[in-house]
Symmetry: C2
């Protein structure tokens, strides 16, 4: 009657120990893979474990060891393929190193991001990889640091956080892309980006709290100025946070009497919507308007014409930051590294000279 199976309570070390006629401590030693045990006992315990179909409770294990084997990842939006590739890079590296990943979406909202970080800390993740949605409010990131957990930043740097960071050369990439446009003769180039900012009107760099966005704008402005464009600030369009907003912005842009002859989109979701609106308006690319976007999304190569893009190695970005974090989790104490990964510009067919209305340079 003692063999009667309990409801469905899971098998514990004690159960195995009893079955193998050894102490709980000994059973734990072989099951947990630590300490020393004689061959005979080891075999007995293993046999008992198999017979009972023992499964270690990782939760309990985590509680004593203090390590959960989990890496928390907070990302802007998984639906954006840039992030899903990055996450895939993180996951692959993590799994290979024996870590699991808990994924959270911030929807680029600081409050959601803070909540996610809080939950993750509560779950006692071993480390966090975050794509900070802004640099003004970073109290929650400070907390991570204070809790002793390593933090790593993905895609967006934070000047006053000296932690492992992997970004791409945003400023430079934006400059190169813009330069291609100015060299083709464009002087009225719109830069459409996704920052959610009350008022929408762009005024100065200081109002942008996301490093990557700021750097790209910086690069865009620099390249515009270099080619003699006056007050390029007026071409910066903020607020393309979702397809509806992007659509509105693009429609406004295309309705202006001096509509831009080229558009630079800060991500592929924006570009897709821009592309659609351009199409709907019956405008031709690149004859009527040129287009370049950040991120080599799959669709950009199959449109007619295919789109010129800035290729951000998203997978590598994720892979690299995960490697850095894991090295730290394994005890390495290198000084925080700031890795900047090169992007490349893939020229396809979406850039041409501006329509001859007002002429080139």
């Amino acid at each position: 009657m003692e063999t009667a199976a309990q409801k469905s309570r899971s098998v514990t070390v004690s159960d195995v120990a009893r079955e193998a006629n050894v102490s709980k401590a000994t059973a734990a030693r072989v099951l947990g893979g630590y300490g020393v045990v004689s061959e005979k006992v080891r075999a007995d315990v293993l046999a008992a474990a198999k017979a009972l179909d023992y499964r270690p409770n990782e939760l309990a294990r985590s509680m004593t060891t203090g390590k959960s084997g989990i890496i928390g990842v907070v990302v802007g939006d998984i639906e954006n393929s840039f992030f899903s590739f990055a996450v895939r890079g993180i996951s692959d590296v993590a799994r290979a190193a024996g870590f699991n990943v808990i994924l959270a979406n911030s929807s680029e909202q600081i409050e959601v991001e803070k909540a996610a970080v809080r939950v993750l800390i509560g779950k006692r993740v071993d480390g966090l990889i975050v794509t900070p949605s802004e640099s003004r409010d970073v109290s929650h990131l400070r907390e991570i640091h204070r809790s002793g957990r390593p933090l790593a930043l993905l895609d967006r740097a934070l000047s006053d956080f000296d932690v492992d960071t992997v970004t791409v050369d945003d400023r430079d990439a934006a400059m190169r892309a813009t330069k291609i446009l100015t060299e083709a003769g464009h002087r009225n180039i719109a830069y459409v980006t996704a920052v959610d900012f009350a008022g929408r009107e762009y005024r100065e760099l200081k109002q942008i709290y996301t490093s990557s966005v700021r750097e790209r704008i910086e690069g865009f402005l620099a390249a515009c100025r270099a080619s003699g464009v006056e007050k390029p600030e007026r071409f910066v369009q903020l607020g393309a946070t979702n397809s509806q907003e992007t659509r509105t912005i693009t429609e406004n842009l295309l309705s202006k009497h001096d509509r831009p002859t080229a558009i630079l989109a800060s991500d592929s979701l924006i570009a897709l919507e821009v592309f659609k609106v351009i199409r709907e308006r019956g405008l031709r690319i690149p004859e009527d308007i040129s287009l370049i976007t950040f991120h080599d999304a799959d669709w950009t190569s199959v449109t007619s014409p295919p789109i010129t893009v800035i290729d951000q190695p998203a997978y590598t970005l994720g892979k690299t930051i995960a490697e850095l974090l894991i090295r730290r989790l394994k005890g390495e104490t290198h000084t925080p590294k700031r890795v900047v990964i090169d992007t490349s510009l893939i020229e396809r067919g979406s850039v041409g000279p501006p329509p001859g209305i007002k002429g080139g340079q």
Copy 2:
């Protein structure tokens, strides 16, 4: 001197209790939000908690309650936007209900899937949502069931598993799509799908161990036969598991002397590659070849011509299965539901009559 901060050990209930001059049990009551406490004591404890910046250890909490508040999700491939949308649906519902999601990728490999399930059970997730990569080896799914955790199946049903399942009307969808093709006059239609099968050659339905794939093939074959196509089996192409394989398959297909006049792709990743190869070959869609694909991926609407697709509501699929699972996790004991969600066929411009070489019906 007693105020001296400990290294960086985290603040526990006991610490708060001491600070507030109450017992651990009482502090736990207010911090844990259970039992009853007087207003005064509650205020004291809360104040102490704030002063000490107390953060509950979810791990410890999970250990006693037996619930981790985590839903484990094992999916074929997050990079596939079908899955990333589904995951987004799951995540949104989960977060709203106070659950977290641990995501694992199986890469459609049964061994990886089994390992992932094992890990997730070890982490004591409250329930699992799995996209089973095959129906032959389901021992690991049986284990989930035996461990008392609810299991829910996403996108793929398992005949001998009576658990909550959400799928789409694959058979019907494939039939409708094929019918559009046959009605346009096609009789030589290739169906390209991603099952990894030694030998690649399709022989019979029984060799397909993924329900959705099987049903689609079934629908395809039925529609072909209905329009008088003989031995439509020979048009089924297995093995398009990655872009390279897909490319090879498509190239072979297009090189045949009696090359298909239409292609039906089982997912958007496959279709994208097929589309590219068709383009490279200088063939025109739909004049030279027609194309339909499962999943309304973003790129399908911006190509020239835009692609006719079977729209699978991936987000809804994820949302629905998560809702079902969560209801169960909250104690509801409804009999397992098998929800089949309708797909819709979005006709765009990639279907036309077959080129007039051999003529239509």
